[in-house]
């Protein structure tokens, strides 16, 4: 049974991505008690799935390592993974949260040796790599996963594979009797950091993501570029595995569009500019855009990418993509805005720079909260002691999400300080 010691002076952080972790750590390091609830089996969220950050092209693993170390060192922070908040009742300074914890089937004795994964035969789509590639039924979600603990896929429970995993474990860490738990605990303030998800590219019908193999999304391209990713860092075509010689990026795929997301997702321009630096210099890159939104200091990065000889910018929102059946090349159709030239351009691979949408559905919030038209949380006084952090409040890049999360931590701290003052 998971024990959580919490009072009205505890801060509950919902979501352990870069925003939730930042808010939790900042609050915990001021001496506040923090409970962090994360849906995935590990913290770090979507940042763990990035290969490089813009604009410095440094590795997210670096900052992740620092944050994970801070988390391990801090006795005020209690991280519960594979857990979801199902209900929050009460008011600022006095909340009761209900949390559902899914069984991991591996306890804290796990040394992450990997013997269970070797013993298990069944394989599943690897969600860490957006279903490109496979993982075992017993697996470590990614190399730097924190907690560094294996997990058994619930689908193998009750099969021979589960027993094999148990038998292979030398430290007796596999516990097949684990069951779903529902726990309740108190909190004075809540930081809501449930983050974002990539817009479903299948909904952009004219781009054929659902029917053209060589049309992929930007998050998939990011995994392909990662040496630890499904292709070992090679940029290859999903249709035939051939090395990619020309890539097209389509901006605003689902963003700034009345039929899809109303808002500008803010990160996609910079993400595509960053991704344009991944392929070798002999790969022809075309970026189709409405306008490049590389704001303030990012302008320098835009100019740097613009100066690359293999990168071409086409001012046009692509109208449709048709597959050339002979070579599986996606053909982009449209009219450009600089001269109104009609084009039909063939590329080896097309990357849709998909937009950001809030990961929690408008109707799915277990707590009363003010949400805007796009599904993001508004900073409304009616939210009481619930504060949004990071991408649950708006489409933000990592830098701005971290700043926003620190702000949310400060707001939550003020609430629990008030509680402390009245309770003496």
């Amino acid at each position: 049974m998971t024990e959580v010691i919490a009072t009205n002076e505890t801060i509950l952080v919902v979501g352990g991505g870069i925003s939730g972790m930042t808010a939790a750590l900042e609050a915990a390091e001021t001496g506040k008690q923090v409970v962090l609830v994360e849906k995935r089996p590990y913290v770090g969220g979507r940042v763990t799935q990035l290969y490089q950050y813009f604009p410095k092209l440094c590795f997210p693993t670096c900052g992740l390592e620092i944050n994970q170390r801070r988390a391990k060192m801090n006795p005020n922070l209690n991280i519960i993974t594979m857990a979801e908040v199902t209900d929050i009742k009460g008011e600022a300074g006095n909340y009761t949260a209900t949390v559902k914890i899914s069984p991991r089937y591996v306890n804290e004795r796990c040394t992450a040796c990997g013997d269970c994964a070797k013993a298990v035969e069944s394989e599943f789509n690897d969600e860490f790599n957006y279903d490109m590639g496979k993982r075992k039924g017993a697996y470590l979600p990614h190399r730097m996963a924190h907690p560094q603990r294996y997990i058994l896929d619930p689908a193998i429970i009750g099969t021979d594979d589960a027993q094999k995993a148990k038998d292979a474990c030398q430290v007796n860490a596999v516990d097949l009797d684990m069951r779903e738990e529902v726990i309740e605990f108190n909190a004075g303030a809540v930081i809501w950091a449930t983050g974002w998800k990539p817009y479903d590219a299948n909904k952009i019908q004219p781009y054929g993501y659902d029917r053209i193999a060589n049309v992929i999304t930007s998050v998939e391209f990011e995994r392909m570029a990662d040496p630890n990713g499904p292709t070992g860092g090679k940029l290859t075509r999903p249709s035939d595995g051939k090395e990619v010689k020309s890539v097209a990026f389509i901006q605003c795929a689902g963003s700034r569009d009345k039929n899809h997301l109303l808002h500008c997702s803010r990160i996609c321009c910079m993400a595509s500019l960053k991704q344009a630096t991944y392929p070798a210099d002999d790969v022809a890159i075309s970026i189709y855009y409405i306008d490049i939104r590389a704001i303030d200091r990012f302008e320098d990065f835009y100019q740097k990418v613009k100066a690359k000889e293999n990168v071409k910018f086409i001012k046009s929102k692509v109208a449709s993509i048709v597959e050339n059946k002979e070579n599986s090349n996606p053909t982009l159709h449209g009219v450009d805005t600089e001269g109104y030239n009609r084009y039909a351009d063939e590329h080896d691979l097309v990357v849709l720079a998909v937009g950001m949408e809030p990961s929690v559905d408008k109707a799915g919030f277990p707590v009363e909260i003010t949400i805007n038209e796009e599904g993001f949380i508004e900073p409304a006084p009616e939210n009481g002691g619930v504060f949004a952090a990071g991408c649950s409040s708006d489409a933000l890049d990592v830098n701005r999400a971290v700043q926003h999360a620190t702000g949310a931590a400060l707001r939550a701290i003020q609430v629990v300080n008030r509680v402390a003052a009245t309770e003496g």
Partner: protein, 207 residues
């Protein structure tokens, strides 16, 4: 927005854009175009257009009055609504194209021999006579619009279709003599005249 801002916007808004906003159906949408080009790329007849919709919108904002109104571009629209369905800003592009066509017709700037414009005129005249479309006469008027010789050729080329339509009772040869009509033709014409009067009254002068 401050008064100064509003004043500056007014100053720089071209008079042709103002004219389109005032006199063209759905014309107030033109300024909402963000020049992404999805309409032009999505148009099935796009390559036959002198200026695709996105370019037309830019020309309006650039004040190219004669070029826009005497263009045959907006007459090419077949009302497939692909552009409206895909426009990320929700512009009623099809309706704007029709609005521009109507306005250019009103000003007498429509290119001569523009087939869609000619057809529209013939259809209108036909409808106005009896309050119902006389398909036999409509068909013949279109066949013979470019002269007697061409008309006979057109009629001969399509005679099988005509015969089949008559067999299927889709067309009646007797329509040639008087043709069916609505009950209250005078009332109908009154309605149309009044509507036209209102429409004309709403047109603002930009000369």
């Amino acid at each position: 927005m401050s008064d100064l801002n509003t004043a500056m916007i007014e100053k720089y808004r071209s008079s042709f854009l103002k004219e389109v906003e005032a006199n063209v159906e759905e014309g107030e949408w033109v300024k909402m175009c963000m020049q992404c080009g999805v309409c032009s790329g999505s148009c099935p007849l796009g390559k036959h257009w002198e200026h695709p919709p996105q370019e037309i919108f830019m020309m309006i904002r650039a004040g190219k009055r004669e070029d826009v109104l005497s263009s045959d571009a907006m007459w090419m629209c077949t009302s497939c609504y692909n552009c409206i369905a895909r426009c990320p800003r929700g512009l009623p592009i099809t309706h704007i194209m029709h609005g521009l066509a109507v306005y250019s017709k009103r000003l007498g700037l429509t290119p001569k021999k523009q087939p869609t414009a000619e057809f529209s005129q013939i259809f209108w005249d036909n409808l106005m006579k009896k309050g119902r479309v006389n398909e036999l006469k409509l068909g013949l008027s279109i066949y013979f619009k470019d002269g007697f010789g061409q008309g006979v050729k057109n009629a001969m080329a399509n005679r099988k279709l005509g015969q089949n339509m008559m067999k299927a009772k889709r067309m009646n040869a007797m329509e040639m003599f008087s043709g069916h009509r609505i009950k209250d033709l005078t009332g109908f014409q009154k309605i149309i005249n009044k509507a036209q009067e209102i429409e004309t009254g709403n047109i603002k002068d930009f000369k």
